[in-house]
Amino acid sequence: MTSTNPTLSPAGGADAPPAGLRPNRHSSLRAAQTRRKWYEIIGLTLPAVIVYVMFVLVPMGFAVYYSLFRWRGIGPPTDYVGFDNYVLAFQDPIFLDALRNNAIIVVGSLVVQGPIALAVALLLNRRFRGRAVFRLLVFVPYVLAEVTAGIMWKLLLTDNGTVDALLRSLGLGSLVRAWLADLDVVIWTMLFVLTWKYVGFAIILLLAGLSNVPQELTEAAAIDGASWWQTQRHVMLPLLGPTIRIWMFLSMIGSLQAFEVIWVTSVPAVRSLGASATMATYMVDNGFFARLWGYGNAVAVILFVISFVAALLFQRFLLRRDIEGAVTGRVN
């Protein structure tokens, strides 16, 4: 409203209308303003809404529809099979392997990356010369493309490759495995590569959280005679709570969708046996490459529902306080 006042006042001041006409003109101007406001609101938000609805929401709706058909992707789907595709998925041992692998990645990422990231973040938050350079180096794996990182590790981990040679030269030759081919080992290799790739992200987030801790608090703790460890344990850690929970949330969603690193690093044959498959690789293998579109879409819906439920549960029980601002929007 305020913005249109200036255009109003000269008009009102110059030829002041008779008192009787005033409310009428005023209200029509007001209506024009309101109309203009709505034009602006709609004009500015519509492009974003259209793109968002069309490419984020609509496809998920179609996935549900396609998942009810046996369909090779040619012409419209006609062979309605109800929930058969879902039943088939849960009867396929490879898909169950994929589910188990996703569970390993979700839990493994949290349990391994969390403590490492916390330790490194607390370390890099201390003042020492060259800290900026160390920070930069630690983030390098995170900015590399998943594909680049995957191919790099694939080369390093090949039989008698660099990792094996390094282990042998350290006298740890007995640890050498067929990292990418041994069906019992490969998922742990994947977890290792994922940890290397994503622990930097956890560190960035935690450092961001640490930098929000007012310096007065650590100074106050120091004046009270707290050691560095006590300060970290009793001041920093509790204040990092929200950041840690947001990281856990993002890590969990990312782990449920794990695709690129596994797709590139692990051998297709191993993947097709289920040893390194995840829900997402299983979905692309079956839906896109084997052209089982109905079935692939059913897997997409399962993946989506699992992620969605996990996200909602996590929000409900752990994240509520932290993102209340973002979702309910306290905007003045």
């Binding site: 602006e40 490419f55 370390l123 630690v138 493309a145 790099m152 080369l155 290397w196 997409a300 993102i323």
Partner: protein
């Protein structure tokens, strides 16, 4: 026991633990970049050298692999495709995101919070899960094998985070500025263009950088929708090169190094923005 009057308390732990700090920091940094350094150096060796001694240094150093990749492969074409798609995505995300976040931050109207929640819901929609129906839709729209097939979905999936980051930033700018602009005869849009945008440049750079890096590194979507080899982006190129020339280990190492160089350079310049953006996201 009286309180220690000397502020040296804060210094003491640093004094004894500095070497330890350095040792740990060095170890962590080494683990992070050793594989990357290995790949870059490996590109200077020959494949027989690598097979004979996987963990050795180049002897002699050869430039041939890098020269070969830069002159004979599709490296430049793919880098150009990646750049066009990443720039298109970034511009789209920033323009659409700013417009929507501006309305959500500075207009009062019925349904505003509903609209905001509607956008934040997108944070819960994993792009990976939507990839198959997305492909089918793009195919029906005959957008497959075009830059748009990658750009439009990437914009759509980046919008929620962009709006979540931008909205608090845009609404934090004091109302008095808007009133002052109004007195000077600027409408709301003039205020957005002349005052709000210049003031929120840091936030714009942050969302732009996040969108650019995500797009530059993207693999799954281009893999499905860019069947045409002439449109392939760098991540697809790296993957193709490594599966096409499996025996040319040195060549793969060189190609991989060159492909990650832009991201590394870009990150070195934009690190502060990325960290700053995540910081904003953490604050909520």
């Amino acid at each position: 026991m009286a309180a220690d009057p000397y502020p040296s308390v804060t210094r003491r732990p640093v004094a004894w633990s500095t070497p330890l700090t350095y040792a740990l920091a060095l170890a962590v940094a080494a683990v992070s970049i050793a594989p990357v350094v290995y790949v870059i150096i490996g590109g200077f060796r020959t494949t027989p050298q690598i097979i004979a001694d996987p963990a050795g240094l180049p002897d002699p150093w050869v430039w041939d692999n890098y020269v070969r990749v830069l002159t004979q492969s599709d490296f430049w074409k793919q880098a150009l495709n990646s750049a066009v798609i990443a720039l298109g995505t970034t511009v789209g995300v920033v323009v659409l995101g700013v417009c929507a976040a501006f309305v959500l931050a500075r207009y009062t109207f019925r349904g505003r919070e509903g609209l905001y929640t509607f956008f934040t819901l997108g944070l819960l929609f994993p792009s990976g899960a939507a990839i198959l129906p997305l492909y089918l839709m793009l195919r029906d729209l005959t957008l497959i094998n075009s830059y748009y097939a990658v750009i439009l979905p990437q914009i759509a999936f980046s919008l929620p985070l962009t709006i979540v980051i931008l909205r608090p930033f845009l609404s934090a700018i004091p109302r008095e500025l808007e009133d002052a602009a109004a007195i000077d005869g600027a409408g709301r849009l003039g205020f957005l263009w002349r005052i709000l945008l210049p003031l929120s440049r840091p936030a714009l750079v942050t969302v732009g950088v996040l969108a650019f890096v995500a797009s530059w590194n993207a693999f799954l979507l281009p893999l499905l929708v860019l069947g045409d080899v002439d449109l392939h982006t760098l991540p697809l190129g790296v993957q193709n090169f490594s599966s096409q020339y499996t025996s040319d280990t040195a060549g793969i190492l060189a190609f991989t190094s060159l492909a990650m160089l832009p991201a590394l350079l870009f990150f070195t310049f934009a690190e502060k923005q990325i960290v700053g953006g995540l910081q904003g996201a953490v604050k909520g």
